[in-house]
């Protein structure tokens, strides 16, 4: 879908789906998303009735339990022309799982509505580059940064180079290329608990590559993968920190 209004520079009324994880544990990613979109001249709304997309339930096998969450998402966001999410994994769940959950539970009407709302749901970097048509968001972030393309951003949503194009326009930022970038970090939701040791082995290789870049900051579009990578980097006292892409894009010289 196209938003000619956005491309022409007119304000778009945007609903933020902050995700349960960012709401509870990583509010800075949500706040940054709000600051960034407002700085670009758009009006952000946060419907307080929102909770969770249900991805954890679906991916762990609890499809029936996810149904009320899908219904809630559809009802809360049905009235908005664009819903922006600072997570490709949750966007992927909305886009690729919500209609399936409704169908599997025998609710065809909900499946149709879920499909329509999903089509208006955007991951942040894709919303910026594809819908608003911006790459330079006038950000300032004087650090050496490496970018990890999360699996769902890369292979489920196909965001491609969008985050890198945004990062390259950030003033002061040195972008260090991550070796083996496209390999999974090992998070995988409940995989990190059910197969904690395999997950850790994958994390070890991801951290080795992050450290090889010499970056101070590892960024990505998903707080979940960053929680995993950052948890490992912190445990080993590497001194490298993880920061959500939205926080980098929201930073300015006046408000770093």
């Amino acid at each position: 879908m196209t938003f000619s209004a956005g491309r022409l520079g007119k304000a778009v009324r945007v609903a933020l789906f902050v995700t349960c994880l960012a709401d509870t544990l990583f509010p800075e990613a949500g706040k940054a998303t709000v600051r960034l979109l407002e700085r670009l001249g758009h009006r952000v709304e946060f419907p307080l009735a929102q909770t969770c997309c249900g991805q954890m339930h679906v991916n762990t096998g609890y499809v029936g339990e996810a149904l009320p969450l899908v219904r809630r998402y559809v009802e809360v966001f049905a009235g908005f022309e664009a819903i922006v999410v600072p997570s490709s994994s949750c966007t992927g769940s909305v886009r690729h799982q919500h209609a399936m959950v409704a169908r599997r539970c025998g609710d065809k009407a909900l499946a149709a509505r879920a499909g329509a709302v999903a089509a208006r749901t955007w991951e942040l970097s894709q919303f910026l580059t594809e819908v608003l048509g911006v790459e330079d968001v006038d950000a300032y972030y004087p650090h050496r940064v490496t970018y990890h393309p999360t699996c769902h951003s890369l292979r489920m949503l196909g965001v491609g180079e969008a985050p890198l194009r945004l990062l390259r326009r950030v003033r002061g930022l040195t972008l260090a290329e991550l070796p083996d970038a496209e390999t999974c970090c090992g998070f995988g939701g409940t995989f990190a608990l059910k197969n904690a040791e395999v997950s850790t082995a994958m994390l070890a290789d991801k951290m080795r590559n992050v450290l090889a870049t010499g970056a101070e900051v590892c960024t990505a579009g998903d707080s979940s993968c960053l929680m995993h990578i950052g948890g490992g980097l912190s445990r080993l006292r590497t001194g490298v920190r993880t920061v959500h892409l939205a926080e980098i894009l929201a930073s300015t010289q006046e408000n770093p």
Binding site: V18, D23, T24, L25, F26, P27, E28, G30, K31, V34, F46, L48, A49, Q50, T51, C52, M56, H57, V58, N59, T60, G61, Y62, V63, E65, P68, L69, R72, M100, R104, C105, G106, C151, H152, L154, R155, M156, E182, T183, C184, G186, G188, G189, F191, A192, L193, N195, A196, E197, V198, S199, T200, A201, L203, M227, H228, G231, G232, S234, R235
Partner: protein, 490 residues
């Protein structure tokens, strides 16, 4: 919930190699600690990944080929009943004999009988996963028949009293030094001065195998494809050893899963492009053998085809899961899988390892017998991206997790702790009021950490903090910040 038809028989227990002795996480733990295995796998998979990527990039119509492959396989599975009968008619009319085996035990009985009928005490085998699926070598041995694996990697596995760990490269977990040791220890008549150069190892295997090719009266093979229209069977291999087995013995017995059928000769055009580029990273396959019934005076004069079900009809009954039957066994999904690369094939417990094995094995055996496999994935999607017939492996994994949860719930009187947790989380998240209250309560977790990091959490979260710090909940949730900022309005 739409009903899943559960009435079809699955692969029986106690025969064959579709079930592991322990759940995936336990087997994976051992594999992760094996530094030689880790090194061998990382080296082999990264080499083959690069080769595949290079040859796939050469074809401008690769995505069209994938779409064609998917369409042909989907069509063949939708009309499997028709094409199998057509295949039987064609093979029979050209002098072959077709046998139907409902499961591993029946197939083993049938094949053992055919070997006895031929009066043979030894057979030579073309690399075949399906014969390993049914445990054919064990069944033959029990009947006093010696099976000789002739594929180089299968020979290494057999001589090493080992198990295959990869669909295409069964000895991928072994390096040259280990292969040399196995040959010196197990290969009768081997030169004691054998080095670990590939040429020397291959020459040793060639000398050992040549005698067996020339004396064998029965050959046993699998099949990569069976063309219904003509009754032609096709084996794709790289060494030529397969061709020896397919042409020298008087009797040739081919075992294939019923899903291997393709409608027409022309369909091979698609698969013989997709398969070598996806599997070995070659533009064209070195030895592609095809035979149609019997050719009088040339090659085997007794040709048998055993069509095996062993849980395939049960998989076909699952609308979402059935796409696992589209697999052409290229193993591209194994080579790109970050989980497979770190644990190898043995951890999956089945002859079908890796991402495809994680969706195929549980369907053949019934999910309850391979319940840990659908969870042996981070759902990163690399497998789906490379699959030459576009099997959506991540979606099938998620679907099989749901089947497992449903079946486990039906089998228990008390819900499992995980089910209680998931139900509670869903209940909380179904209401913004309950959600906000829970968020406030979770900030008690701040007490567990020093500063903004938590170093230890109790089970089941201890798996997380064993290697990773956890973030301490912040002083203010996002919604609290929003409310404060906007004076309590949305």
């Amino acid at each position: 919930m739409t009903g899943t038809f559960l009435g079809m028989p699955t692969a029986p227990r106690g025969v064959g190699h579709l079930r592991g002795a322990e759940p995936f996480p336990a087997a994976a733990r051992r594999a992760l600690a094996d530094s030689q295995l880790r090194r061998n796998l990382a080296k082999a998979t990264s080499t083959i990944r690069a080769k595949r990527a290079a040859v796939v990039a050469e074809l401008p119509d690769w995505e069209d080929l994938r779409a064609a492959g998917q369409a042909i396989r989907t069509h063949a599975m939708t009309h499997l009943d028709h094409y199998l009968v057509q295949l039987e008619e064609q093979v029979t009319s050209r002098g072959g004999v077709v046998h139907w085996a409902r499961d591993a035990a029946e197939a083993n009985r049938l094949i053992t009988g055919l070997v006895r009928q031929a009066g043979a005490a030894e057979v030579v085998k073309v690399k075949s996963i399906v014969t390993d699926e049914i445990g054919l070598n064990d069944a033959l041995a029990a009947a006093g028949i010696t099976a000789h694996e002739t594929d180089l990697a299968e020979l290494i596995v057999q001589l090493g009293h080992d198990r295959p760990s990869h669909i295409l490269v069964p000895a991928i977990h072994r390096n040259r030094a280990e292969i040399r040791e196995i040959f010196l220890r197990e290969m009768a008549g081997v030169d004691p001065g054998l080095t670990d150069s590939p040429a020397a190892l291959t020459a040793a295997a060639r000398g050992y195998l040549r005698r067996r090719f020339l004396s064998a009266r029965v050959g046993i093979s699998g099949a990569n494809f069976a063309v219904a229209e003509t009754g032609t069977l096709c084996v794709v291999e790289s060494e030529g050893n397969g061709r020896m087995c397919l042409t020298l013995p008087e009797t040739l017995i081919t075992v294939m899963g019923i899903e291997k059928v393709i409608p027409s000769w022309r369909d091979l055009e698609v698969f013989l492009q997709l398969l070598p580029r996806s599997s070995t990273g070659e533009r064209m396959n070195p030895y592609t053998s095809m035979w149609t019934g019997i050719t009088p005076g040339d090659g085997p004069q007794h040709v048998h085809l055993v069509l095996l079900d062993n849980g395939r009809t049960a998989a076909l009954a699952d609308e979402t899961g059935r796409q696992a039957l589209h697999c052409i066994r290229c193993s591209a999904c194994l080579n790109v899988c970050p989980v497979y690369e770190r644990v190898g094939g043995h951890a999956y417990g089945s002859v079908y390892p890796g991402p495809i094995g994680a969706i195929l094995s549980p369907q053949l055996t019934g999910v309850e017998d391979n319940a840990s496999l659908p969870y042996a994935s981070s759902l990163c999607g690399a497998c789906y991206q490379v699959c030459p017939v576009k099997i959506d492996i991540p979606s099938v994994l998620v679907h099989l997790r749901a089947r497992h949860v449903e079946q486990a719930a039906a089998a228990r009187r008390m819900p499992a702790p995980e089910a209680v947790t998931m139900a509670a989380a869903a209940w909380v998240m179904a209401s913004p009021r309950r959600w906000a209250a829970t968020q406030r309560a979770s900030r008690v977790g701040r007490l567990a950490g020093r500063g903004d990091r938590i170093r230890w959490l109790p089970p089941p979260l201890s798996g997380w903090t064993a290697a990773r710090d956890a973030p301490a909940p912040p002083a203010q949730t996002f919604r609290q910040w929003w409310k404060a900022r906007n004076g309590g309005t949305a």
